[in-house]
Amino acid sequence: MSENYRLEKGGLINRNKKIKFKFNGKKYFGYEGDTLASALLANGVHLVGRSFKYHRPRGFFGAGVDEPYAIVQMNRNNEVDPNVRATEQELFEGLEAKSVNCWPNVNFDIGAINNFLNKFFPAGFYYKTFMWPKSFWYKIYEPIIRKAAGFGAASIKHDKERYEHKYEYCDLLIAGTGPSGLASAYAAAQNGARVILAEDKSRIGGSLLVNEVTIGNQSGQEWAEKIISELKSMPNVIIKNRSQVFGYYDHNMLVMSERVSDHLPKTDKYTPKQRLWYIRAKEVIISSGSIERPLVFGNNDTPGVMLSSAAKEYLKVYGVLVGKKPIIFTNNDSGYETAIEFKKNGIDPLILDSRKNPDSEIIKEAKDLEISIKFSYVVVAANGYKKVNSANIAKISDDKKIISNIESIKCDCICVSGFWTPTIHLASQSGNKTKFNEEIDAFVPSKSKQKETTLGSANGVFTLEETLKTSFEKGSELSKQITNKENKVSIPTVVEKKSSKHDKFWCVPLPEGKNYKRFLDFQNDVSVSDIQLALREGYRSIEHVKRYTTLGMATDQGKTSNLNGLQLVSEVENKVVPQVGHTTFRPPYTPVAIGAIVGREVGKHSKPTRKSPMHYWHEKNNAVFVDAGVWLRPRYYKQGNENLFEASKREAKNVRQNVGVCDVTTLGKIDIKGPDAAEFLNRVYTNAWLKLPVGKARYGVMLREDGIVMDDGTTTRISENHYHMTTTTAQAANVLSHLEYYLQLVWPELNVNVVSSTEQWAGAAIAGPKSRDVLQRLFPDLDVSKEGLPFMGYMEGNLFGVNAKIFRISFSGELAYEVNVESDNGNFMWEKIMEIGKEFNIQPYGTEALSTLRIEMGHVAGSELDGRTIPYDNSLEGLVSKKKDFIGKRSLSKKAFIEPDRQKVVGVVPLDKKTSIPEGSYIVKDAKAKLPNPKLGHVSASCWSVEYDNPFSLAIIKDGKNMIGQKLFAMSPLKNKTIPVEIVSSHYVDPKGERVRS
């Protein structure tokens, strides 16, 4: 298909490079430098979507971020990209996009029936209609509404694209590269400030690319190019195009999304699709410009009705005519600039100016070019369904209330200009209390809360001369304060056309007997009558009106609609706009991909993975790993076709019968030193620590101040003032912070230092009746006999030239030792243990066997120390000192904690000795009781006892002490199981603890 609306020459596109693309399955071509929107318009395509509620045809309204209509679904690099603005999507070879919110297609859309039923879809329609019957909401209403509404569909597949985050610090962040952005960046850079200059579009220059101005002796565009190339050569300046600063957060933290690869057919292997920048700036200059305001008239949403500034941009940047018979409908001088551009390119526009008798340089120029102008004229309504084909125009009275002389004029586009709205989003997000500027009928920033300055048209300054002057000055002043350097730059002279005052008029009254829809919010189909209805129904606060009518919601967040909405409310309510106020501007300014927010923190990368020094040995020996906190631990070592159950049973059995070895590197380790270390431990743990001899370990329990068990572990006195504490894998970080809290804030008088040594030591637990034999062979020179190294003993040894710490401690309930060596020697130690242990049938065991061994011994662990239990509940009351005070002791005398029927850990065995009890099951008295069945407690951990070859569980149940011997039921509604059980002692195996002392 040929391009009927592309000019022969002009624009900033590369005419030497044709680009093929597909829209709704149809082939077109455009040029390098086009957006999808400009390329479609060049091909005369105006129908690109359907509206949200009424499914009315939708075309293009703008040429940038403000676009409310042209939202398409992209198919790029085999990934679906919903919610893409065609006005921002740059064209690339093979681009494929399609319309959204229409079915079966954009030309024939069934949903358009809503348009004819619009009487039934007033403001608050959902709230009013789908209230009853209540049960219909989930099953009927919601699925239908969900299918009918919304823009595009996200993929449910994993997004294969790469996104990344970047942190940056700078002196000045400048958002927007129009004249104010370039001038302030230039001045700041000259003063040596570190500057980040961000531009949303691919081209830098902002309004200088489209406005006919002269700076110095150059055109605005040439001047911009010169400044940019100078800035690019400076090492203290970062210039980023395709980068939207979308959020202004606390303490001058701004977030910017950079579309690194969205303009390319596919993402390179080593680059991300998008990059999110977290920028901490000492000063922020907001040079975000302004967005043209629409004028409101009948059917003003018809494709072909668009902003006059957009029409000009398509002409000047892309060499595209949005129509060949344009009507320019304006209330200010900006519309004339568009008209003049049309005229220069051989098109005869008709200007309708709502003002009675304006006069200015630019109006004179238009007159000189013999452009037809009708003053005191307005568009009453656009005609045409899928594309505007004519306009009903009329004369309007001086008070703008009466229209007369209605006539129909043929046209193929209507370019509207209702003056300009400063883009104050970032300033408002920063906490700036905005004020209403009567001169321009819009809000502008006033008092800064953070270090930000708004310049140029974003600040309501619409002349280039003043913009450049203030921007050079501000850029210089702000940077000088930071760098203490000043290199004066001279402010160039400016030639621009002077404008006359705009007209406050914005909404065309309805002609008698006509009921045209006059839209305020183009994305959400909010019309003048919807707002009027909401106000009649009693909505007053602008925030409520917004939520009730959806004015200013959705992806464009009312960039083109907010102010007109406010003007309407103020008119109906007979208030002035500042009394009505504006809704809160919240980040993001433009939609941000979830992928970009997540960055690289996906799947396995969502947290760092820690591996023990023996990890690769485990890997080589068929370990199946499990996540344990941030660690990867072997869950079991697979032999042949074994499953988890078979392997863990084999491993646990081998520990009970022979000897096993388990990687316990992951245990938290804290090195404690200082003359007051013993006193400190005595305050931290519930049991007594002052008399622990050097070379001995002790098991300890620590509480939170509320009496709940925080963690348990063993601590060994290495020397007089040196202790080695172990914590559970999961609580290691919390325990360290806890100790630091008390040392730094509560008892600073204690002379103690703590430091994490978890990663300094590799640990192996050697457990089982034959473990002493293995240990003796590992350390032939040491006396590791029962007497030489008794239970809870500690010694240091030399393991084939490697220094080792040997602790006689046990988690499995068997005779057991833990050997620690420096991490680098971990694998050496492990291989030696395996080599020497071979003749004793040593086998490695994983966390599953580890759990089995501790559960049947009744050793409590994380599933019992779950942040809800006190020492008594875990049968640890014997470790609670009555003599001394410690953290949390005072709480243990709370009434609930000393109730006689307080919960306690018990053992649970199924009566049939076969059925495993799911963890989390409830323990109840009567399986058939009426719901809710009173719950006695829950099953905290389950295993298959290798000692007795039947299932065994631990449970924490009410009055557990007196429940031993009772026949109860374990119920798991989740697994739909009811299992008759008997309550037994939690110490199922070796209740006297003889083995560990053997």
């Binding site: 933290m253 101040e705 730094q744």
Partner: protein, 88 residues
């Protein structure tokens, strides 16, 4: 994201710190009688002021020191940061 001046390390982003609650709470002394009421107040009762609040933060990804931060809970303005042993 807040920008907190650690008295030991200088200005650092909030994600290097973890929050530690009200800095004005004093733990009752060890081995001293405490009434149920006073103990419960210490363990559970915290003010939730709208405005200035002296609070604890720990520079966990930095020097690991607990510090005091005087912050406005409404505006997030930080007025002052102190070492653990310093008073306002």
């Amino acid at each position: 994201m807040l920008y907190i001046k650690c008295p030991h390390c200088g200005l650092r982003s909030q994600n290097e710190f973890s929050y530690g609650g009200d800095a004005t709470v004093k733990r009752p002394e060890l081995n001293k009688e405490v009434s149920d009421q006073n103990w419960d107040n210490f363990v559970y009762l915290r003010k939730s002021p709208r405005g200035k609040h002296l609070e604890l933060w720990q520079h966990i990804s930095g020097c690991r020191q607990w510090i005091k931060v005087e912050r406005d809970t409404l505006t997030h303005e930080i007025f002052k940061t102190l070492k653990a042993n310093e008073e306002l």
